[in-house]
Symmetry: C2
Subunit: 329 residues, 2 copies
Amino acid sequence: MKVNIAIVGATGMVGRTFIKVLEEMKFPIKNIYFFASAKSKGTKVTFNSQEYEVEELTEESFDRNIDIALFSAGGEISKKFAPIAKSKGAIVIDNSSAWRMNEEVPLIVPEVNPQDINWNNGIIANPNCSTIQCMQPLKLLKDRYGIKRIVYSTYQAVSGSGIGGLKDLENGIKGEKNTKYPHQIAYNCIPHVDVFLENGYTKEEIKMINETRKILGDQDIKITSTAVRVPVKYGHCVSINVELEKSFDIEEVKAIYRESEGIILQDDVSNNVYPMPLTIEGTDEVYIGRIRRDYSVDNGLNLWVCADNARKGAATNAVQIAQLLLDKL
Amino acid sequence: MKVNIAIVGATGMVGRTFIKVLEEMKFPIKNIYFFASAKSKGTKVTFNSQEYEVEELTEESFDRNIDIALFSAGGEISKKFAPIAKSKGAIVIDNSSAWRMNEEVPLIVPEVNPQDINWNNGIIANPNCSTIQCMQPLKLLKDRYGIKRIVYSTYQAVSGSGIGGLKDLENGIKGEKNTKYPHQIAYNCIPHVDVFLENGYTKEEIKMINETRKILGDQDIKITSTAVRVPVKYGHCVSINVELEKSFDIEEVKAIYRESEGIILQDDVSNNVYPMPLTIEGTDEVYIGRIRRDYSVDNGLNLWVCADNARKGAATNAVQIAQLLLDKL
């Protein structure tokens, strides 16, 4: 069975990665359509060696029997156009934060909560990039040991802010000015991802807290988070400190990760092997290393988790959700 | 009263910073001597507009009525030469990790435990760079609220590895090979600072745990740590998650920091003000921001702490210890 696909935000960084990932996964496509804002209209994109022209996104864009629409064009576009796409019969997989916490919208990491696809109502949300990569590592711990509390500290690549983030890093290295970030990111760390909220947290930090609870299906997990932008191009890292309910054996934890599809254990410190942005860039897996007992609390564990934010943290996860949908269409 | 000073490791990054800081603080110096390894012998250094020649460090180097010897030439040199300097009447302030955990050696951050200078026995240790900057922020919390547990995640500049670290970052940006680190640091995060130990922690992480307890004078504080190198030149950052004994008020915590000498509160998120390596480089204070309640635990608090690792994290702190000594000599 082949399907009709629309990509909304086709000229953005995640939009371009959707195209690459759909090609690589040999997604069964009948027709594919590319949409973006008026200013990108006419841009050429290549998919499976065929050239396509990007169309302007309008209310009529979905009048073509679209089966699955992959959105990555920002929250405002998603709020307006996802319901339109849905009303015309498409199932939307949305990469923005617009729908993630909506109770009628499942928020899915396919390795973690694929069953949540069953109650979708035409819109499915793709989680935040930093959150996605922590979900399978934590779900495996939760199932085996239970989770009491999580402390996240992130090290986030500039591509998380799209092409503008990458430009700011390049320009900063050359001594030129930043335009995307409020400060130079080259040779710097900026403890500020997304906007600040009343309580002093950034929206990114709160997304990590709320989305983790929704995806793991447990509102009682205690979570805090500090989100930081670092001068890395692709690949988010998260230092995860987790307090488990039950006692664990470190070698058993490693074995669980070693055997789980979607996860690559890189934990051989005597040979300087641990996950790093530069070595995982361009891949679809979640990498875990630096696994060690936290002696400061009962059943404490430290993990270092790394994934390509543009791929597993965005496009790959969305296309994996689309694959789940194929069986349902 | 003026004193005779020796700088051991005068051509290294911290050695050079000793010189700058001594000048800036108008340290009362009678004579100053510069020592380094044989290969740096004859190197010219300028102090207070006067040129000096670096001498080779030998067992005779301290036969000149040295009052205070500032060491930053690595642990092996300190192990061998600090006792020699001491035997010849100097008081050694050592920046290496060689003596820090020795029970006869005080480990001092002048804003935190200046009284420990009283039991020095000729050698005083300067703490680890990442540790130093966390001590005053935590001591103030400990005195007011008590501390149960600390979770550190660090973002450490390459200058923490001296000139070799800076070269690796520069070379990596130019697409050239690394020699100091096992991996490219440019555009990367390396979760590996100092060597790995049997238990999976790095020595840096264990230093942070042990030194924190020694400086705060409390072996019961629960601590864990994850230490990460980031592509920043100067300025370490630490995401500190701390669980206090007593309840606190966020505004009171901010007021405590605002009023403490040695600390600069940079916490005005609505104007994008928070500590960052690029803005604190070259200064002697500890910067704190992103202060917010951690709702995941009783009396939980998140802090983002930043300082120039070559200055407050090394040379400045050592010279401040030397200032404490002036009253005792």
